[in-house]
């Protein structure tokens, strides 16, 4: 009996097929892969322009086969706005970490969300500044030790972590806001479905969309990749609950 091999999973076409610079077990790679899969599946390769951040994903443009620009730290939503305004039919997304988006770039993300223009933001929340060596981020949890909160983050000295998805969902501009987690196969499937909705919110011209991805940073967390996934479930999710915080009519 003749047999053929059916493809269950292969690398996306939008993936440039290079070995990334990310540390072993870092979920940036997972988020990258989901982006590439969706760009393939939704036929967006020819019209995509990605805006990369300053942070671990600064070299993101090396790994994809669509057009890319590299923004200044925190300014990706402004740059994406400039690109989208000049080319409204293109698909424009930013990919930003928590220092980039929630600290130095807070003004840009809030106003991009408030304008509500159809751009998409993939937001990586791993609770620290990974690229610079694990300093405290706006998303660092209370009690969490980082290189700049060596005794653990306290409200008295460092203030409180920011829940970006909930905050932006208060605005009228966004069409789709969700928080997902990249900690397990089931949650990664859900993450992809949320990203699909976010991409669709732009493709269908409905409005601004953002997916916040709870992610790991095994190197700076000083945990193994597997322990890092467990930490997301045990420590991060209780503070940063998963869910859809804004779903405008027509987003699917």
């Amino acid at each position: 009996m003749a047999e053929e091999m059916k493809v269950i999973y292969e690398r996306p076409r939008s993936w440039a097929n290079k070995v990334t610079h990310y540390c072993p077990g870092c979920t940036h790679g997972v988020a990258h892969r989901l982006v590439a899969e969706l760009v393939d599946e939704m036929g967006l390769l020819d019209k995509t322009i990605a805006v990369w951040p300053v942070g671990c994903a600064v070299l993101g443009y090396e790994y994809f086969t669509f057009d890319s620009v590299e923004a200044a730290h925190g300014r990706a939503p402004a740059m994406a706005t400039g690109i989208k305004v000049t080319n409204p039919d293109n698909f424009v997304f930013t990919y930003q970490g928590d220092g980039d988006l929630a600290s130095i770039g807070m003004a840009e993300i809030v106003h991009a969300a408030a304008r509500g223009w159809p751009i998409t933001v993939i937001f990586i929340n791993n609770g620290n500044y990974g690229m610079t060596g694990g300093q405290m981020a706006p998303t660092t949890l209370l009690g969490q030790k980082t290189t700049t909160s060596p005794l653990g983050r306290t409200p008295q000295t460092n203030g409180f972590p920011i829940r970006v998805a909930e905050m932006l969902a208060q605005l009228d501009g966004p069409a789709y806001i969700a928080r997902v987690s990249l900690d397990s196969p089931v949650n990664i499937r859900k993450a992809k479905s949320a990203m699909r909705k976010a991409f669709n919110a732009q493709v269908r011209g409905i409005g601004f969309s953002m997916v916040e991805c709870l992610s790991t940073c095994p190197t700076n967390w000083k945990l193994t990749p597997v322990e890092s996934m467990e930490r997301i479930r045990k420590e991060v999710m209780p503070y940063f609950p998963l869910g859809e915080f804004k779903v405008a009519q027509g987003v699917l």
């Binding site: 019209k47 990369w52 057009d67 400039g82 000049t86 080319n87």
Partner: protein
């Protein structure tokens, strides 16, 4: 359009940019140039363009950066403190080799300063401001008409060299009204999207990437050398100067922009008194017209630099002429604008009666 119309400077300059093919404007309110974004917000939609009021000057310049990556004619305008906030973006845009135009209606500083006319952002405009080794072309009109004409050049130079072009004016030029004629109208349908633009692949066999990042030192040095070669080419080809009453001049005033406009009256007053004074007015302050100044050195007994700042333009004059002829300087700061007689008095104090 060939008839003259009476327009306020800040609006005429905006219309000049539109006639030069600018279809995208991103900006943030700041005095004394608010009429420029206000005009853009009315006019750009009429010509199929887009005006966006950004949340800050930081966002404005990065929106400009994004649009510039798409290869369109794009600009922003601001005034001194706002331009300071844009320095990061200007450095990135320069490091990424994409074109745009930035207008600065300079006001008194440092800090919040005031909203009166000044030229104290000269160093920031011509020497740097942002990080890294980069240059912008800096055009300094001294009338509304010249500003309108220079906007056409500004966009062409930006596209030609893939550089940031700055147009520096001040509140005086922005707020006064003059008859102006729009001589050149660029048909934007003739402007082609550059092959490097990030506009989506749309069948292109490779991805376009625009970045100012080069991690490896040898690679970044190579990139810098490429930029330096470009800047050297601009220095060779693009410096401009106006020579006023210089044919028989014994002395020259060196001034640009508003200050040069006032100094022209000083020249006339001085000549009425028998002093053979002329004016050398850099139209490009970068590239600085050093060669043109040097050509006059053998004929001149001295030159007085006049500016609305403290020895900023003077530094470039010194670099060009130091040791060749006696140099004097006169300036006012903080938004105080000297009149023609005050300049003449300064000249006579430093150079005698000019005989």
């Amino acid at each position: 359009m060939s008839d003259k119309v009476l327009m306020k400077g800040a609006e005429a300059l905006a219309e000049g940019a539109i006639q030069a093919g600018c279809r995208f404007y991103f900006g943030y309110p700041i005095t004394p140039q608010n009429e420029t974004p206000e005009y853009m917000s009315r006019r750009l939609p009429e010509v199929g363009g887009r005006f966006v009021q950004a949340e800050s000057e930081v966002a404005s310049i990065n929106m400009v950066y994004g649009a510039a990556c798409a290869g369109v004619r794009v600009m922003t305008s601001s005034s001194s403190p706002g331009i300071s906030l844009m320095q990061e973006g200007i450095s990135y845009i320069s490091g990424s080799n994409v074109p745009c135009v930035v207008m600065n209606a300079m006001r008194g500083g440092p800090g919040l300063g005031n909203i009166a006319p000044a030229q104290a952002d000269y160093f920031q405009a011509v020497k740097g401001g942002g990080n890294g080794d980069y240059k912008r072309i800096v055009l300094a009109p001294s009338s509304i008409q010249e500003g309108v004409d220079l906007f056409v050049d500004a966009f062409e130079l930006a596209d030609k060299y893939r550089m940031v072009v700055m147009v520096i004016v001040d509140g005086l030029i922005g707020q006064m009204m003059e008859p102006v004629e729009f001589k050149t109208k660029v048909d934007v349908s003739t402007l082609k999207t550059p092959e490097w633009a990030t506009v989506g692949r749309h069948g292109r066999d490779h991805a376009n990437v625009i970045t100012s990042l080069t991690l490896d030192a040898a690679g970044l040095e190579k990139w810098n050398l490429k930029l330096q070669a470009k800047y050297a080419q601009v220095e060779r080809s693009e410096s401009r100067i106006e020579e006023y009453q210089m044919d028989d001049a014994d002395y020259a005033i060196i001034a640009y922009g508003t200050m040069a406009r006032i100094a022209k009256t000083t020249v006339r007053v001085a000549r009425a008194k028998g002093i053979k004074l002329g004016l050398l007015r850099p139209i490009t302050v970068w590239p600085f017209p050093a060669k043109q100044l040097q050509a006059y050195a053998p004929k001149l007994k001295g030159a007085l630099t006049v500016e609305l700042a403290y020895r900023q333009l003077f530094e470039d004059v010194q670099l060009a002429l130091c040791g060749k002829i006696p140099l004097g300087w006169f300036g006012r700061g903080g938004g105080v604008v000297p009149g023609p007689q005050e300049i003449l008095a300064a000249f006579e104090e430093q150079f005698g009666k000019g005989r």
